[in-house]
Symmetry: C2
Subunit: 164 residues, 2 copies
DNA sequence: TTGGAAAGTCAACAAGGCTGACATAAATTC
DNA sequence: GAATTTATGTCAGCCTTGTTGACTTTCCAA
């Protein structure tokens, strides 16, 4: 293998390699969202609904402000999406017992069905990609993605990663 | 190392592992776009402008329909973005010499400056992530992303990957 | 009891997707 | 040469999902 200019095997850090990584992210992210998007549009939902449903499924009973922190949107924006999910029977709200100001969010049976459909579609692609690339590649994939996150988001991610 | 239920080392294909990969993509993509986004908003541009500038830089002289295929948006949507880039002197248009219906797109000096600023910001984060994860991880990262793309997009990506 | 946090709501706005319709110039085909 | 197709641009109108600002209600805690 040829060595980098500095002679330290840093060829993978050239601008050219980085640019390829950037384009890989762009094209892959489109694939990543394509399958759930197709399901969502049949029911007049968008990606914002998917995200809300995903994280409510992941952390049942999470509060609105928790969700705001994870999704990094304004409460007005989140509220609009939650409103439709609640009105259409996908999400159930419970007033907090300890702190009654808080609203705890849960998926209904219908909501769980939707979540299942969405994540099945997304996981199928992810599984195919994982299988094609192999376990070692997957480990690298996760390492690079984690390093790419903002530190605050790495915390959110780790919280989820290490179990509810 | 523990073996998967099937006894074939497939632990990395469990739903739990796939879900982590899905969330890693979500959080990482936000980091991925955060730095250029900050630059863009100072000049009333959005991600759509970034994408156009990126691919015109990548393939100088590319046509409008080429760009439409790569970006996978409607011509009306692209045109709106292209219009502002041209009007504000970031992109130059040239009528095709072989086929005069075609419009060939180039970055102006100003446009190149903008491209530089945007990609410097994005590459800095990518470089840090690459460095933190190491060359082997980067290889896996690219393998998984490539496997995650839609086949048509993998073609687009490979075209770019293998030189102009 | 009062200040402030959590949550919700209303209004208004913007970016950037979309569709459909239509115009024009140039190339291609018949 | 006429008809058709292709590449592009543009107008109008719509949607989702983001934004800010203002205001209310609820309710915990000092």
């Amino acid at each position: 293998m040829a060595e980098a200019p500095g002679g330290e095997g840093l060829l993978y850090l050239t601008d050219e390699q980085l640019r390829k990584g950037i384009e890989a992210m762009f094209f892959a992210y489109r694939g990543f969202t394509a399958d759930p998007d197709r399901i969502l549009e049949t029911m007049d939902y968008g990606r914002a609904h998917h995200r809300a449903v995903h994280f409510i499924h992941r952390s049942p009973g999470t509060t609105v402000s928790n969700l705001l922190a994870i999704l990094a949107v304004t409460k007005q924006s989140l509220n609009r999406v939650l409103r439709t999910l609640i009105d259409e029977g996908h999400v159930r709200v419970e007033k907090g017992k300890v702190d009654a100001r808080e609203r705890h969010l849960y998926l209904t049976a219908r909501g769980s069905e939707l979540e299942r459909a969405l994540s099945d579609a997304q996981r199928a692609r992810m599984r195919a990609a994982y299988r094609a690339a192999g376990p070692q590649a997957v480990q690298g994939f996760r390492q690079v993605l984690e390093a790419m996150m903002d530190p605050e988001m790495r915390v959110q991610y780790s919280r989820l990663k290490d179990g509810a």
